[in-house]
C-alpha cells in the first residue's frame, strides 16, 4: 500500500544488488536508525535501557552469529553459550593482563579466541552430519563451563570464576552510563549486521546456503563442504564471541561462568528459530521477542491483579517457550521474519491479494 515502485528502475548491477533496492525501504531504514540513535536515548529510562534495550542489542548480535551457522549453513550448535563465554573471558584476560589495552581491541580479541575454539570443535562436523555436530557443540559447552570454573588462568585466578571489569572507555570516552553502553552496543550491532549481510548475500553466503539446501549438488559445482562449513563456524563464533564480550563487559559488568551456561545456548537457539532461520532481520525479531516475552509474562498477572509466585511464572515461561518452538517449527519454519516479509509482499501488491 505504501509502496510506489514505478520509476525505481535499476541501470547498474550495483544499484540492483544493494541491500534495500526499494526507496521506501531505505527511507524506513533511515527512520529506524534515527529512532534508535536519537529518540531512544532521549526518552528511554535507564531501567528500560539496562533491562531491555542493551540485552536486546547484545543478544541480537549473538543470535545473528548463531543464525549464520544454523540458519544459513544448516549446522546446528548447542554450545553458543560456550563461545560467548570464551569471547567474554578472553576479552577479560587481555583487558586485565595488558594494561592500556583498548576496549574494542580486547572485545575483538575475544571474538578471535572464540573463532579458534569454534573451528576446533567444528572440525568433527566435517566428517559427521547434523546430529553428531549437536553433540560436538555440547561438548564445547561443558568443556568451557568446566574450564572457566577450574582453570585458574582463565579467570585470572579468581575462585568460582566470577570476574568483573570497570572503567570502560573508548579513546577516553567513558562507557558507563546506560545511554553510553546502549549506544556502544548499538554501534557494534549495526556494524556487524552490515558485515554479516554482505557476507550472506555474497559468494560465501551462497556457498553456505548451498551446503544447507543440497550438499551433494553443492559439492558437484565445486563448493568445498569443508571450507564452507569451517568459514561458517569461524564467522559465526567470531560474532558470538564478540557478543559474549559485550554481554560480560557492557551488560553484566561482573559475571561468572553460569552467565553462559547451556540455558544461554538454548535461549539463543530459540531466538534464531522463532525469529527466523536464515534471516538477519530474523535474529533481531527473535532477540526482541525472547527478551521481552518473559518480562511481559512476569508482568501480566500483576496487571490483571492475579499475582502468581515467580516459580510458577518461570515454569509458565518454560512451557510457553517450548510450545512456541514447536509451533513455529511446524507452522512457520522461517519464523517471524517470514511473517514480516509476507506482510511486506502483501503491502507491495495491495490491493491485489497476489
Amino acid at each position: 500500500m505504501l509502496y510506489r515502485e514505478n520509476g525505481q528502475f535499476k541501470s547498474s548491477y550495483r544499484s540492483d544488488q544493494q541491500i534495500f533496492p526499494i526507496l521506501q525501504d531505505r527511507i524506513a531504514m533511515v527512520a529506524l536508525l534515527v529512532l534508535a540513535v536519537v529518540i531512544v536515548p532521549l526518552i528511554a529510562s535507564p531501567y528500560l535501557l539496562t533491562a531491555i534495550f542493551i540485552p536486546f542489542l547484545i543478544l541480537a548480535l549473538a543470535a545473528l552469529g548463531l543464525n549464520i551457522l544454523v540458519g544459513y549453513c544448516g549446522q546446528i550448535s548447542l554450545g553458543t553459550g560456550a563461545f560467548m563465554a570464551v569471547g567474554a573471558y578472553a576479552a577479560y584476560n587481555v583487558q586485565t593482563r595488558i594494561d592500556g589495552m583498548p576496549l574494542i581491541a580486547s572485545l575483538l580479541f575475544g571474538g578471535l579466541a572464540s573463532t579458534v575454539l569454534g573451528v576446533l570443535f567444528g572440525v568433527p562436523s566435517l566428517r559427521i552430519k547434523g546430529l553428531y555436530l549437536a553433540v560436538a557443540t555440547l561438548a564445547a559447552q561443558f568443556f568451557v563451563d568446566w574450564a572457566c570454573l577450574r582453570l585458574g588462568w582463565v579467570t585470572n585466578g579468581s575462585s568460582s570464576g566470577s570476574v568483573s571489569v570497570a572503567g570502560l572507555n573508548v579513546l577516553g570516552l567513558p562507557i558507563e552510563s546506560p545511554v553510553q553502553k546502549y549506544l556502544f552496543a548499538l554501534v557494534f550491532l549495526a556494524v556487524f549486521a552490515l558485515l554479516a549481510k554482505n557476507l550472506v548475500r555474497g559468494a560465501i553466503g551462497r556457498e553456505w546456503m548451498a551446503i544447507r539446501d543440497m550438499d551433494v549438488a553443492a559439492a558437484v559445482i565445486g563448493i568445498r563442504p569443508v571450507y564452507a562449513k569451517l568459514t561458517a563456524f569461524a564467522v559465526s563464533s567470531f560474532i558470538v564471541g564478540v557478543a559474549g564480550g559485550l554481554w560480560g563487559f557492557i551488560h553484566l559488568g561482573s559475571w561468572e561462568p553460569a552467565a553462559f551456561n547451556i540455558d544461554r545456548s538454548f535461549q539463543l537457539l530459540f531466538m534464531v528459530i522463532i525469529g527466523g532461520l536464515g534471516s538477519i532481520m530474523g535474529s533481531f525479531f527473535g532477540a526482541a521477542f525472547i527478551v521481552v516475552l518473559p518480562i511481559i509474562l512476569d508482568g501480566l498477572p500483576y496487571w490483571f491483579g492475579i499475582p502468581i509466585d515467580t516459580a510458577t511464572a518461570s515454569h509458565l515461561t518454560f512451557m510457553i517457550f517450548g510450545a512456541l518452538i514447536v509451533f513455529f517449527l511446524i507452522v512457520e519454519p522461517h519464523g517471524i521474519a517470514r511473517l514480516w516479509s509476507t506482510a511486506k509482499e502483501k503491502l507491495r501488491l495491495w490491493p491485489f491479494p497476489h
Binding site: 500500500m1 515502485e5 514505478n6 525505481q8 541501470s11 501488491l349 495491495w350 490491493p351 491479494p353
Partner: protein, 649 residues
Amino acid sequence: MTTTTFPRLLLSHAAERPAAAALREKEFGIWQTLSWSALATLVRELAGGLAQAGLQRGQHLVVVGENRPRLYAAMLAAQSLGAIPVPLYQDAAAAEFVFPLVNAEVAFAIVEDQEQVDKLIEVRAQCPALARIWFDDPRGLRHYAEPGLAPLDTLIDEGRAFDAQHPTRFDEAVAQTQPADVAAMFFTSGTTGYPKGVVHTHASLIDRAQAGASFDKLTNAEEVLAYLPPAWVGQNIFSYAQWLACGYVVNCPESASTVSIDLNEIGPTYYFAPPRIFEGLLTTVMIRMEDAGRIKKWLFQHYMALARRIGPPLMDGKPVSFVDRLRYALGTVLIYGPLRNTLGFSRVRVAYTAGEAIGPDLFSFYRSIGINLKQLYGSTETAVFVCLQPDHEARADTVGVPIEGVEIKLSDTGEVLVKSTGLLREYYKNPAATREVLTADGWYHTGDAGFLDAGGHLKIIDRAKDVGRLMGGAFDQAMFAPKYVENKLKFFAFIKEAVAFGDQREKVCTFINIDMEAVGNWAEKRNLPYAGYTDLAQKPEVYALIRDCVEKVNADLAADAMLAGSQISRFLILHKELDADDGELTRTRKVRRGFIAERYQVLVDALYGGKTSQYIETQVKFEDGRSGMVSAELKIEDAKTFAAVGRAA
C-alpha cells in the same frame, strides 16, 4: 513549417545533452542506457556501414523486429543517408513480407533475430532484389551459410572503418537531407487488397510530432515504454518521431513476456496504447481482485464507486465538495494510488488511446482513478495527430478537437475530410489510390463518417464506406453503422470480437467471439466444465449470457433515433477466435468484415435463412505455422429488439 530532419534532431540532442539518456533497454537484468552522444556515434557507424554496403539516397531499408535500440539506430542511420526506413510487422507471416519487399525494391534489411531471418530467407526467392540481411541477435544463426547474411556488429565495425576513411561523409549526407525529403514509409495492412505504402516526409512527421508535443506540453523529461510493433505508425510516432522531437527517453522491454514487469519498473510519464491493452489490464485487475479477502474486496468496491462518482468531475476540473475531495484523497491512499502503482501508471502524466472506439466504462475507470487517459484521432496517412482531447475535456464518445495545423470539414456524405501539415505525400507507386484519398486542393478523405459536436469535438460513428442502409423490414432505409454496433457489443467484457451484417438486408445479424479469459472465469465460477474455446462457445449458458448483452445493446440503440434500425435481431457465437494469422483481422486487430462474410458465407446465409443451427468446418493456422481443421454445429439465436424511442415517423 518545420525546418529540420530526424538526423539533425539527433545531432542537436547529442550536442546539447550528450550524456543524457536517449534509449534504455532492459537486458541482462538491468536497464542498459544509451546516451544521446553514444546513440549518435552508433548511428554514424551504422550509416557508414550502410553507405559502404551501397545503400543509396532514396532507397528503402527494411527494418523488422521488436523495439530494439539498435533497430531504432538503424532507421536513423538510413535517414541520415537520405534513404528510407520501412518498418514491417515482426509478427507478420513470411508471405506477408513479399509484397512490401518487392513493391519497394528493397535490397537491404536489418532484422532482430533468427525468427525474422528465417522468414526473409523463406521469401528470398520471390524477392530477388534483397541483397543483404543484417541481424541484431546472433543466437542460433552462427551456422547459417546464407549469402549476404551478416551480424549487425560486423556492419558496425565496417562502418567504423568506413567513417574513419571518409570522416565528412556522414555530416554531408545529413546536411544534404531536406525536411521535404521522404523520411519513412509505413505499410498499412489495408482491410482489403494489398497493403499500401504510406509515404511521409521528415516535415510531415516532425511537424505533427511537435504539434502533439506542444498540445500536451511534453518535455525531454518524459519516460516512454515502447512495446507495440514499431511498424505501427502509432508506436512509431510516440517512440520515434516525438522521441526525437522532444528528446525524451524511450525504454525497450526485456522480452514480450516481461512487458508488465518492465512497465512497472519504468513507470512511464507518457503512455499510448490501443483500447484492447487498457481493456486487458482492466480485466486482469478485476480477475485478480476476485481472489481478494472480504475486507479488501469491500474497500475496493466502495472506493471504486466513490471514484466513479467523484473521479471524472475531478479530472475534468469541475467543482467538487471539500468533503468529497477528502474522501477521494483517502481513496487515493488506500486504493487508487496502489492500483496505479501495480498497473505501472503512478507517474503517467498523459495517456492516449486511439485506433478503436473505447468503451465508456473502460475509459472512465482509468480516468476515475486519476490517470489522465485521453483519446486522439488520426491515421497512418495523417501522421496520427489530427484531433486530441485537451485535459479536462476527455469523453468516451468523442475523439477531441482539431489541433494546431489541422483543418476539418465534412463531405456531404458525412465523411470527415482533413487538411493538415502532416498528411502523407502519396501511396508508394499507387497514384490511383493516392488520388482516391487526396484531393487536388489538399484535402484528405479519412473514410470515416462522423460529425463535430456542439463543443467542437469530433465524433466518429463508423467507416464511411461501411455505413449502409437496411432494405425492407421494419426499418427500411434506416442507417446501419456496423462498427458502431460491433463496438457497443465489444464494450462487454464477455465479447471479444463482433461482426455485424445488415447493409442491403432487412435486419441486422452478428457473429460474436466470446472473450476466452472473461467467459472462462465466468464459467469456472458456475463450475461449468468446458473443453476449449469451441466447446465453451456453444454452451447454452454462454448463449444466454451473450443474448443478455445483445439485448442491452438493442435497448441502447433503440434510444437513438438515427441508429434504432441497427438493432440486432439474430446472432451466433463463432466456433473459433477471429485471428490475424487467418486473415480475419488486420495486424491491428480490426475485423475484415468483407473477408469474413465470404469465408463464412454459409453462416451468414443461415442467419438470414432463419435456421436455428448450422454446421461449419474451418481451416486454421497455428502459431508454429502448421494448420488444422476446426468444426462445430453452431447454434443461432434470436434477440429481443425494441421499438425506437421517439422515432420520427
